[in-house]
C-alpha cells in the first residue's frame, strides 16, 4: 500500500483549438494526498482545475501522466473517487433521501437498502426532517449539504469537491465552510478541494497547492498547519493572515493583493482576477 491515497503524476492534457493547434491545459501536474488529508487546489480562472478533476474522476483521459488511488492505477477509470461537481446537480424528481442514495443505487445497492444507509447521515448534515422533501424545497446551503451527503455516501476513498460553495452568498458560504471543517474533523475524509477562494483554502486545508496560469503546473505547495479544530476564530490568527498572504503571493497577486488587503471590508472574491 502506498503512502499516498491519491497520487497524480505528470498529468499533461491538451484540447484542440478551433484553428487546429493544441491548447495545453495541464503541463506536468503533480499532486500527492495522504489518507485523511484535506488538500486545497487553488489557481487562476481557466487554469485547468476542472480539467484536473475530470481526469481524476476518470471522466477524461490525459495525454500523459497517471492517477493512482491507493497505489492502484486509476487513469481513465471512473468510480474510483467520489466527485462533487460545482452545481449541486440534485435531481429535482428525487427526494433528498433518494438523491443522497443515488451513488449507492448506481453501484447496485437495492433502492431501499441504499436509502436506509444514507438516512443516519441526515442529522449531521443538517437535513433531518427533509428526507422526503424535494430539492426545490431546500435552501442553497441545504442543497450543497445534500450534494455533499450524496458524495460521501458513495463510500469512496477520496472526495473531489469542485468549488462546492462557489454559488452561495458569502454568509452561507462561511457557515458551510465552518460546518465542513467540523464535519471533516470527525470523519477524517481524504478531500481534494478545488477553489477560487484563498481564505476558504487556508481555513479548511492541511495543504494548499497553487496552480500556475494555463498551462497549469503546481507552482507552490504550502502546509497549512494552523491549529485544529478550525473555527471562526481561525480567521483571526496571525498565521492565517501570513499564510493567506503567502498563497496570494504565489498566485502572483503580490502588489494587487497587498492593496486589497489593506482595505477593511474585503471579500475574498476580489483576489480572483
Amino acid at each position: 500500500m502506498s503512502e499516498y491515497q491519491l497520487e497524480v503524476s505528470g498529468l499533461i492534457q491538451e484540447f484542440p483549438r478551433p484553428d487546429g493547434a493544441a491548447l495545453r491545459v495541464l503541463d506536468g501536474l503533480d499532486l500527492r494526498v495522504r489518507p485523511g488529508e484535506f488538500t486545497a487546489v487553488i489557481g487562476p480562472s481557466g487554469s485547468g482545475k476542472s480539467t484536473l478533476f475530470n481526469i481524476v474522476a476518470g471522466l477524461d483521459r490525459p495525454i500523459a501522466g497517471e492517477v493512482r488511488v491507493d497505489g492502484r492505477i486509476a487513469t481513465g477509470y471512473s468510480a474510483q473517487v467520489a466527485y462533487m461537481p460545482q452545481k449541486d446537480l440534485l435531481f429535482p424528481w428525487r427526494t433528498v433521501e433518494a438523491n443522497a442514495a443515488l451513488g449507492l443505487e448506481v453501484q447496485g445497492v437495492p433502492k431501499r437498502e441504499a436509502r436506509a444507509r444514507v438516512r443516519p447521515l441526515f442529522g449531521e448534515f443538517g437535513l433531518e426532517g427533509f428526507e422526503r422533501s424535494y430539492p426545490a424545497q431546500l435552501s442553497g446551503g441545504m442543497r450543497q449539504r445534500a450534494a455533499l451527503l450524496r458524495t460521501v455516501a458513495m463510500g469512496r476513498p477520496v472526495l473531489l469537491l469542485d468549488e462546492p460553495f462557489g454559488a452561495l452568498d458569502s454568509l452561507t458560504r462561511t457557515q458551510m465552510q465552518l460546518w465542513l471543517a467540523e464535519t471533516w474533523q470527525r470523519h477524517g475524509w481524504t478531500i481534494v478541494l478545488v477553489t477560487h477562494d484563498v481564505r476558504e483554502a487556508v481555513l479548511l486545508a492541511d495543504s494548499v497547492h497553487v496552480l500556475s496560469p494555463r498551462p497549469a503546473r503546481v507552482v507552490a505547495r504550502f502546509d497549512a498547519d494552523l491549529p485544529r479544530p478550525r473555527t471562526a476564530a481561525t480567521f483571526q490568527l496571525p498565521e492565517f493572515a501570513r499564510l493567506e498572504q503567502a498563497v496570494l503571493n504565489a498566485l502572483g497577486l503580490k502588489d494587487h493583493a497587498s492593496r486589497i488587503l489593506r482595505m477593511p471590508d474585503t471579500s475574498s472574491d476580489r483576489t480572483e482576477t
Partner: protein
C-alpha cells in the same frame, strides 16, 4: 386548486358560453325556425337527454378505440424515442419518416384501413395511433435530448452504465416534455376514432353521428358533437391529474419559481 380560484378560472368561459348559447337559441328560434337546419341549444339538450342511452352505448366503443389506439401510440412513441436516443443512426433514419407520416391525411386513409382490416377494432386503433404518435414521440425525443450533460457526467463518475444514466436522468427529465406532447396528442385521439368510425363501423359515436345525419336528426348530430367535446375535455383535464401523480416534484418547482424569489436561508424551513 381552491374553490375561489376554481370559480375565478371558470366564470369567464362559462359566461361567454352562456352568451353564445343564448344568441344561438334566439337565432334558431326566431330567424331560422327549422330544427333540421339549425336546432336550438334547448332542442339539442332535450334530444340528447331522450337518447342518452344510445349516446352512452355508442360512446363506449369510441372510448375503447381511443384507449386502444392511444395505448399503441404510447408504446410506439417510447420505443422509437428510446431507439433514437441510443442511436444517432436510428435518429437520422427515423425522424424524416416521422415527419412525413404527419402529412398523411387521416381522412383519406380511414376508408382504406377499413377496406384492408374490415369493421374491426384494428383500423380504428391504427388511425388513432397515426393521429397521435408524432407529438408523443417528438416531445419524448426532445425531452431525452434536453437532459443535463453535467448530470450525465456525474452519473458516469459514479460508474453508471448508459442504461442506468438513461433510466435515472433522461427518462425522469423528459417527463415534463412528454406531458406537453400528451396534451397535444390527446386532443387528436377521439377525433381519430371518430374519423375511423365515419369510414365504417358497427357502433361508435362517429357512425351514430353519420346515421343521424342521414335521417336529418340535426339535433342529435349536435348532441353527439357535444358528447365528443365533453369527452375530449375530460381526457385533456385528466392529463393534468396524471401529471401531478407522476411528477409530484413539479409542484414545488413552480412554487419556487413564482414564489418568494429566493430559496431563503431557511435552515429551519420545512
Amino acid at each position: 386548486m381552491s374553490a375561489g380560484r376554481l370559480l375565478r378560472t371558470l366564470w369567464p368561459p362559462l359566461l361567454l358560453a352562456a352568451v353564445l348559447l343564448g344568441g344561438w337559441q334566439l337565432v334558431g328560434r326566431f330567424a331560422i325556425d327549422n330544427p333540421q337546419v339549425l336546432p336550438t341549444p334547448s332542442d339539442v339538450a332535450s334530444a340528447g337527454w331522450d337518447q342518452k342511452a344510445a349516446l352512452w352505448q355508442n360512446a363506449l366503443p369510441t372510448l375503447r378505440e381511443t384507449a386502444a389506439g392511444f395505448g399503441l401510440s404510447f408504446a410506439v412513441s417510447w420505443i422509437i424515442a428510446t431507439a433514437m436516443d441510443f442511436s444517432a443512426a436510428a435518429r437520422r433514419a427515423v425522424y424524416p419518416l416521422l415527419v412525413a407520416s404527419q402529412t398523411i391525411p387521416v381522412i383519406a386513409v380511414a376508408p382504406l384501413f377499413v377496406v384492408i382490416f374490415g369493421f374491426t377494432l384494428l383500423p380504428k386503433m391504427l388511425l388513432v395511433a397515426l393521429a397521435t404518435f408524432f407529438p408523443l414521440t417528438a416531445s419524448l425525443a426532445e425531452g431525452f435530448a434536453a437532459a443535463d450533460g453535467e448530470a450525465a457526467r456525474l452519473l458516469r463518475s459514479m460508474g453508471a452504465s448508459r442504461w442506468q444514466a438513461f433510466r435515472k436522468v433522461r427518462v425522469p427529465g423528459a417527463l415534463p416534455f412528454f406531458f406537453t406532447g400528451l396534451r397535444v396528442s390527446i386532443t387528436y385521439a377521439i377525433g381519430g376514432a371518430i374519423f375511423a368510425e365515419y369510414a365504417g363501423a358497427e357502433d361508435g359515436l362517429g357512425i351514430y353521428m353519420k346515421q343521424m345525419q342521414d335521417v336529418f336528426r340535426t339535433d342529435l348530430v349536435f348532441a353527439t358533437i357535444l358528447v365528443i367535446a365533453v369527452l375530449s375535455v375530460l381526457l385533456f383535464a385528466s392529463t393534468y391529474l396524471l401529471e401531478r401523480l407522476v411528477t409530484p416534484w413539479r409542484r414545488y418547482e413552480r412554487a419556487d419559481s413564482s414564489g418568494d424569489g429566493g430559496r431563503g436561508r431557511g435552515w429551519g424551513r420545512r
